[in-house]
Subunit: 166 residues, 2 copies
């Protein structure tokens, strides 16, 4: 047990949520089909209030094309009583490789290409030992349109009777 350890949990603003998301660019994306949820880790770029990412074609993309409702979660755990977490409910929107989305694609690529697995972290649609997708496996580019963002921050609190700065 951890008697005496308390923490102060507070909701953070939407602006703070986006700033946290932008600072790490890593989280977990959930999609669903026939009410079966499916979660994978994902790298993303944040621009304003939209989230941009790439994925190889596969189960996740198939599911999001069929049902665009998604959830993006990110957390930063310094300890079990010292953490921040952000949850976004939103919709998947595929951005085709056309002039219309040229700028978004370029900006997202610039932000994400420093990561070797920016197109598919945590899962493998690759056979093995590939640095990037083969021809014909071009990553799908998409954004998440945010419907709701919520975030919480927890910090340890001194025991009763001990005021801060004493």
């Amino acid at each position: 047990m951890t008697e005496g350890i308390r923490m102060n949990v507070q909701e953070i603003t939407a602006a703070e949520c986006y700033a946290k998301l932008a600072s790490s660019g890593f989280g977990r994306l959930a999609c669903a089909r026939d009410n079966q949820p499916y979660v994978v880790p994902i790298y993303f770029a944040v621009k304003g209030e939209a989230i941009y990412a790439f994925s190889l074609a596969g189960q996740k993309v198939d599911w999001m094309r069929e049902n665009p409702r998604v959830c993006l979660e990110a957390d930063w755990m310094s300890g079990s009583n010292d953490w921040t977490s952000v949850v976004i409910l939103g919709r998947y929107e595929e951005l085709t490789d056309t002039p219309e989305f040229y700028n978004e694609r370029l900006q997202a690529l610039a932000s994400l290409q420093t990561r070797p697995m920016w197109w598919e972290p945590g899962t493998s649609s690759l056979s093995s030992a590939n640095e990037r997708p083969e021809k014909g496996q071009a990553p799908v580019f998409f954004r998440i349109l945010v419907d709701r963002v919520t975030g919480y921050r927890a910090a340890p609190q001194p025991p009763d009777g001990v005021a801060p700065h004493e």
Copy 2:
């Protein structure tokens, strides 16, 4: 760009997946309602091939009672080309506080109670500064019955022409 960095992605066995999950006891749990997925961080205990956890009553529990299909994801990122990830598809089963589940509850409690927020990391159903749920807010105890578990491990690979141990 990261020219020259390659990695070797391999599927790991179910036994390796459970061992990784047991070693950290932390991941993200997704549920879904009306095909809207919802993801939150979660602490859990692993016993054999079942996952045990607690949650405060609230949106997540409401959704899982209505639709027991869940997905549990955990990942360990040493770097973007050096990681392990595990994804479980399974079903939520609530374990009532009755003699039938006395042993499971006791074992899960023993495994989880070292963490101050074992009943609800990453979200706040608490007003603030509470160490544990108020009376009447007893955490719901549940397990995830695993239908499918898959895991991948990636490790950096030397550039072409450099054999290991040379």
